[in-house]
Symmetry: C2
Subunit: 192 residues, 2 copies
DNA sequence: GCGTTCATGTAAAACGTTACATGATTTG
DNA sequence: CAAATCATGTAACGTTTTACATGAACGC
């Protein structure tokens, strides 16, 4: 691997995998599950069809290595020192203009284009949905805190759960604010 | 059959353009600027090299139309009734499993993989960065509120600015919380 | 007149999803 | 012993980025 490859900006999947493996060894199947259950909802999505080839590539390059083989051809990977160094470089790199893509947020951005009644309908749904998502994560976080032994290393998902929780709460409060704003404009209309 | 097996076309760019044009007519150049300055930071990114072909496609299909041609080959597009109907359908469609991709958030997720001192360094930077971004948007929002004439239609960016503002505030508060948590675990270590 | 901004475009490469595929192990 | 889950993979297709390209109008 040449040094120039390290400057390629679009290798987020590579670093997502390195990051997960830096926390603890895992198989491609387990990594896929982590994407489905936590990473994929807020940070980065990936399917197994992209993950497996990428793991092979990372192993070829020496950034990760197989540390265990199990039933059904299962291969557990761990990060190497090389890989850890590369991950740290990427995490510390203060690069701007990073990839941002969120279809749900896009829908909220486009509300301004709708008639007030339509916007109100969608915002009302957003309030409910974000309350639901926040509640889910609140439960998850509380359970994690309750079961974690004192002085133990913080579980990987704990920071992530709190992040998601606060993001959904903020979305809910924004939607409530937006509802009030839009209804306010509607009242202006009827007063004219 | 899981949700992933279902056919799902990813046409977010199409709807992003329809949404922007539903608010007001614009040229490809102006739309590109909107992606660069607001949409692209939170909702959806696109470059002019993707936008121009997509506009031509939308025009061919009759979802938008050229309403004005100006200097330097500039073409101003407006949404058609067909296009507006399609947009509304998409916005109202309660689809799950939408695209989520955010490199900055990914970096925060991977913090758990680092040694506490490294994580603290990155979180401290996140606190500063999110404060900066929130302040920018606060100024923008206040200026918009001050200049908006009473009873006038809410400017497109107003909802978006508030959304961004609240998201950055939430990120900042999360980072502060995470710093405390990580320092707390560090103290446990030194107490053992 | 000269550099900057405006304005649009094409093509190759990289990235990501869908469809297709195979077989082993576990659970009931 | 059948269904579900575990576990990995390839190939075609669609999406997005990067590199390359052109020229008109504006500001100084």
């Amino acid at each position: 691997m040449s040094i120039y490859d390290m400057y390629h900006p679009f290798m987020s999947l590579r670093y997502a995998l390195l990051g997960l493996l830096a926390y603890e060894p895992a198989s491609g199947y387990e990594l896929t599950r982590q994407f489905d259950h936590s990473l994929g909802h807020y940070a980065w999505q990936a399917r197994h069809t992209q993950i497996y080839p990428e793991l092979n590539k990372l192993a070829d390059e020496g950034a990760i290595e197989v540390v265990e083989t199990g039933a059904r051809g299962r291969r557990t990977y761990a990060i190497t020192e090389t890989g850890r160094a590369e991950l740290l470089t990427w995490l510390s790199d203060p690069t701007e203009h990073s990839v941002v893509r969120n279809e749900g947020v896009l829908r909220m951005f486009l509300l301004s284009a709708l008639e007030p009644e339509e916007a109100i309908k969608l915002l009302t749904r957003e309030v409910q949905e974000s309350a639901l998502q926040a509640e889910k994560l609140r439960t998850l976080a509380q359970r994690a805190d309750a079961t974690a032994a004192q002085g133990e290393r913080m579980p990987f998902g704990r920071l992530a759960a709190e992040f998601g929780l606060r993001l959904w709460e903020a979305r809910r409060e924004w939607a409530l604010w937006a509802l009030e704003r839009i209804r306010g404009y509607g009242e202006h209309d009827s007063l004219r």
